[in-house]
């Protein structure tokens, strides 16, 4: 029984089957991107154990496939097992061993990247200073109240996934219970017209009575983001009876519980940094007479009081800033909506503790393949000449 299992796990057939399934998955996952959106397809096909039902060229196909995690894991087990079972040192096979060690590194590296990496964005206009970046996909419900220190807030953040479930949310630092009455993945808000909009308002308190809420379908486009909204009830806090509407489109709304004042907002999920960055100047050059971008560049003042750092840096295409385990890349550039003379810049902020593994893995595999290939070639030429 164990013998059979070992034979199965170490067989080349398993490798070939995994590679074939991998090809199929990558292909399906690529084609599906035009129907499901790049981000969604990535999550569903490559970052899951199973894929049930695929979309091909606009059609739904009832097909079940092993997902990226499953194929990757089985390949990894297969690789490690066959090397443990059959490893015998020989100069002739050295290249093959090195190559496979590199492949293991790449697989493990990709897995850890998936698990530990985080991508956020930092968007600011010239002159603005920011000490946090924001998620491009996720949102959070926050309750803010004055902390003991001046110009500091105490923040209670609730991830969007809890809102999605609706129901009740309790937190030890909140003197009330949040009841989620409605939640919409994507929505539009507009100001309520006095004569036109006669239906009931989405909520009774704060900004709620002044707007009209229209739920819309979830967007799959790369260039748009979902703007969720929720209608909440704060139970157990006197003076907050009624319902509140929250959405990233609204400013934070204030309310009082006892003599403590609170603000609440549904906003793009934030990640705070122990340092701040100020956008000094943006440069956006195009080639003469065209709109082909030639250069995007942001000049930034980096301030880190803990390390007594205060310096200016340039971030531009193919020249990111690596600082304190984070990497800042030039991502987009534009103009401030309110003030066209002010440039805006968006930086992609990436934390990826295993960013070095692909470099090492690639070099290892290349060395192994090259070794093996040159050995073959040398043998071949020797035979030909002889």
């Amino acid at each position: 029984m164990i013998q059979q299992l070992i034979r199965f796990l170490t067989s080349l057939r398993l490798t070939v089957v995994c590679l074939a399934l991998g090809i199929l998955l990558v292909w399906v996952g690529t084609v599906a991107q035009s129907d499901e959106g790049l981000y969604q397809a990535q999550q569903r096909y490559f970052k899951h154990w199973w894929v049930a039902g695929v979309s091909l060229f606009g059609y739904r196909v009832p097909l079940a496939l092993p997902g990226g995690y499953l194929i990757g894991t089985v390949l990894l087990v297969n690789l490690v097992a066959s090397h443990l079972a059959r490893f015998k040192f020989a100069w002739k096979k050295l290249g093959i061993h090195i190559t496979h060690v590199g492949i293991i590194l790449l697989l493990v590296g990709q897995l850890t990247t998936d698990l530990f990496s985080r991508e956020t964005q930092m968007r600011f206009a010239e002159g603005e200073t920011k000490s946090y970046s924001e998620s491009a996909q996720e949102n959070e419900l926050v309750f803010l109240t004055d902390a003991s220190a001046p110009d500091r807030d105490e923040v209670v953040a609730i991830p969007e996934s809890l809102l999605r479930r609706k129901g009740e949310i309790r937190h030890e630092k909140l003197p009330f219970t949040v009841r989620v009455q409605q939640y919409h993945v994507n929505s539009q808000l507009r100001r309520r017209g006095p004569m036109v909009d006669t239906g009931p308002p989405p909520a009774t308190q704060g900004a709620g009575p002044g707007v009209v809420l229209t739920p819309v379908a979830e967007t799959r486009s790369m260039d748009e983001r979902n703007l969720p909204s929720a209608v909440l009830e704060l139970a157990g806090a006197p003076g907050t009876s009624g319902t509140w509407l929250v959405s990233p489109l609204l400013e934070p709304q204030e309310f009082k519980v006892g003599d403590r004042s609170w603000r609440m907002a549904l906003r793009w999920r934030r990640v705070y940094n122990p340092f701040s960055m100020q956008l000094l100047k943006t440069t956006h050059e195009v080639y003469r007479g065209t709109d082909i971008p030639k250069n995007f560049q942001s000049r930034i003042r980096l301030e880190n009081p803990a390390k007594r750092e205060n310096r200016e840096v340039d971030i531009y295409m193919n020249n990111p800033l690596r600082y304190q385990g984070l990497t800042f890349f030039q991502y987009q550039m534009g103009r401030d909506e309110m003030d066209q003379s002010r440039g805006t810049s968006t930086l992609q902020v990436v934390r990826n503790p295993s960013w070095l593994t692909p470099y090492v893995g690639c070099a290892t595999v290349a060395a192994g393949l090259l070794y093996q290939f040159l050995m073959h070639l040398a043998g071949f030429i020797k035979r030909r000449v002889a």
Binding site: S11, L12, R13, T15, V16, L19, A20, G22, I23, V26, W27, G29, T30, V31, Q33, S34, L38, A41, Q42, F46, G109, Q110, T113, E119, M222, V286, Y287, R288, G289, T290, I292, P293, K294, N295, F296, Y316, M317, N318, P320, T327, F329, Y331, Q348, V350, N352, W355, P358, Y359, G361, C362, V365, A366, L369, L370, Q372, F373, H376, L377, F380, R384
Partner: protein
């Protein structure tokens, strides 16, 4: 004969090639159009000679670099056409510069068809013929632009394509002088005469003093067409003809003629280049080649003194256009292919050696073109889809020649010449979309990664294709001829296997380098972008073939079949993913290419089915003298 044939063939071909080397000269007594074509301008964001402006425009408008004139029985060269467009547009308006071949579009524009009107070819039409229906075009274009490009019908795409062609034509027409100009020199003189009194009147008027009303209105009348020209030029994104006043300070501040003209209102003296162009325009209209050539020579002298580097670069690119290296190489590859195929039929060693010599010569020409392009662009060999085709061909020819060197059986030659020819044909079709030396957008603007990732991954494509073509030879010769002998079979298998190892190495390293570039420029080693995934599929497929072979799951024939599927995989990654229209690497939807891709994939699938036929149906495996088994016999067996 046997020994002499390769020499004769090579020398003949070399003479033909060297005949193309001397730079193009202008005929005495005529307009110096080649010299005019060498003038530098800034178009599409880069310095280029007017010759390139003309050629690229004609390629986009009518897929050829010239217009054939049936009455005069000669082609109208691109530069000559451009001279007409710039200086005598009413003549250019009559030239059949637009290719319109969709029947519904022809009907929409009420154009004469081939059947109904003698003298029409039903494909090429002039601006004057299209002009009466411009309103219709405008209306249709507006409607269609609201439809997503992927779901447009062929007719709708034809409308959009023609519309952008018309836009391009208007752009060129407004590059030099206002439309309907008869004598640009005189207009300039009048403008300058009106300028001083007119400006004085304007200043007095602004100061609230008494002013010369006549001089004032006079200036307004003269300025008006120039002002309109300047507006048109910036709307149409016209090329920049006029060099900067002070090239020693800012090299890239080239100007359009309109803005140069308006500078005078602000007190700047009229740019000398404008005068030269005006003189050329008038001489051209009045059919005075001597005057034209004189103004042109003087302008050249002016440029040589002020902008020696740009002038030199424009001249070099003009020479490159003139050489048509890739076309020459293509012709040589075809000839070599025929010779190598001939060798398989009668095994005449002279034919094989001739083929090898021709391929080597073609490769030298191919390489020269590649290097020339790299020098002009100041970039590594692959910068866009067009150059990837040229480079894949180049790499495949090298591999084919190496195989031929070792095996000496004509197989390497056939692969080298056919892949070389096919990729250059593909490159030619890709060049129809416009300038092939366009500037690199900021993300791609790094020579280091273009030289490493792009080159290596392209070599990976090239070698996977070579393995696939070798496999095609295995199958075709095996199924249809008796020439797949034991020896040939063995050596073909060895070649396929060897090239696949090579392909695995290159596609893997290239793909991972791409990941590292992505990590460097947007912080993501692997983004599951379609182009990345395409490259990954090639790596996985090559790895799968090798593992299946090592595990004994496939033998010779299976290896060949899998290598053919490698062709499909590579074609998909090279072109198919661009047609999905998503991701950072996409270049837009290409419908004609899609049809060809499907044809190619279809042909490869047919080959794989052929390869799956039982071996007793292969001619090469049948015992000598036996006739083909009938279906009944096959069924009985």
């Amino acid at each position: 004969m046997k020994q002499w044939l390769p020499w004769i063939v090579t020398i003949a071909a070399a003479v033909w090639v060297s005949g193309k080397l001397p730079a193009a000269r202008d005929a005495a007594g005529g307009f110096a159009r080649e010299e005019f074509g060498r003038l530098p301008a800034v178009a599409n964001g880069r310095f280029q000679p007017l010759d390139s402006v003309g050629r690229n425009a004609l390629l986009q408008l009518r897929e050829k670099q010239s217009i054939y004139l049936p009455q005069e029985k000669r082609p109208l060269a691109a530069t000559e056409w451009l001279m007409e467009v710039l200086m005598q547009p009413e003549k250019a308006d009559e030239r059949r510069a637009f290719r319109i071949d969709h029947p519904e579009l022809i009907a929409l524009l009420k154009l004469p068809t081939k059947e109904a009107t003698p003298g029409e070819d039903g494909k090429h039409y002039s601006w004057s013929q299209v002009k009466p229906s411009l309103d219709q075009m405008e209306k249709e274009g507006k409607r269609i632009r609201e439809i997503k490009p992927e779901v447009r019908t062929p007719y709708e795409r034809a409308v959009i394509k023609l519309q952008s062609g018309l836009f391009l034509y208007l752009r060129l027409k407004n590059t030099l002088q206002p439309e309907n100009t008869v004598d640009f020199v005189q207009d300039l003189a009048e403008y300058q005469r009106a300028l001083a009194p007119g400006m004085a009147a304007l200043r007095s008027r602004e100061a609230g003093k008494e002013y010369d009303g006549l001089a004032f209105t006079n200036l307004l009348t003269v300025v008006e067409p120039f002002d309109k020209l300047a507006q048109m030029q910036s709307q149409l994104e016209a090329p920049f003809l006029i060099p900067p006043h002070h090239p020693e300070n800012r090299k890239d501040e080239w100007m359009r003629t309109g803005e140069t003209l308006l500078e005078s209102v602000r007190g700047q003296a009229l740019h000398p280049a404008l005068n030269y162009y005006a003189r050329m325009a008038v001489a051209f209209r009045q059919q005075q080649p001597t005057e034209f050539n004189k103004a042109l020579t003087e302008y050249r002298g002016f440029l040589d003194g002020k902008l020696p580097a740009e002038t030199k670069k424009a001249r070099a690119e003009h020479y490159f256009n003139h050489l048509q290296t890739f076309y020459t190489a293509m012709v040589l590859y075809v000839a070599a292919f025929l010779l190598a195929c001939g060798f398989w039929f009668n095994l005449h060693e002279g034919l094989r050696r001739s083929a090898v010599c021709l391929i080597a010569l073609a490769w030298v020409v191919h390489t020269a073109g590649l290097l020339f392009r790299m020098l002009l662009e100041g970039r590594p060999p692959v910068t866009n889809l067009y150059s990837s085709a040229i480079f894949i061909g180049w790499g495949a020819v090298v591999l084919g020649l190496v195989l031929e060197r070792f095996f000496k059986d004509g197989i390497g030659s056939v692969v080298a010449s056919s892949v070389g020819f096919l990729t250059l044909i593909i490159a030619h079709h890709l060049s129809l979309t416009g300038d092939t030396m366009e500037m690199m957008r900021a993300v791609l603007d790094t020579n280091f990664w273009l030289a490493t990732h792009v080159v290596v991954v392209t070599l990976g494509y090239a070698s996977t294709f070579v393995a696939g073509f070798l496999a095609m030879i295995y199958l075709l010769r095996g199924v249809f001829t008796r020439t797949l002998t034991e020896v040939t079979r063995r050596s073909l298998t060895r070649m396929i296997y060897g090239i696949l190892c090579f392909a695995t190495l290159f596609s893997f390293v290239g793909t991972v380098l791409g990941g590292i570039w992505a990590d460097q420029s947007w912080g993501r080693f692997w983004g599951w972008d379609p182009k990345e995934n395409g490259a990954l599929i090639i790596v996985l497929w090559n790895a799968l073939i090798l593992h299946a072979r090592w595990g004994g799951m496939v033998k010779e024939r299976g290896l060949a079949n899998m290598a053919i599927i490698g062709n499909i995989v590579t074609a998909w990654s090279w072109f198919g993913v661009n047609m999905l229209g998503i991701g950072l690497h996409s270049y837009g939807f290409m419908d004609a290419a899609f049809r060809w891709l499907m044809l190619f994939v279809g042909s490869q699938v047919v080959l794989v089915f052929l390869g799956l036929l039982p071996q007793r149906l292969w001619r090469s495996f049948r015992p000598a003298g036996a006739s083909a088994p009938t279906p009944a016999q096959t069924a009985a067996a």
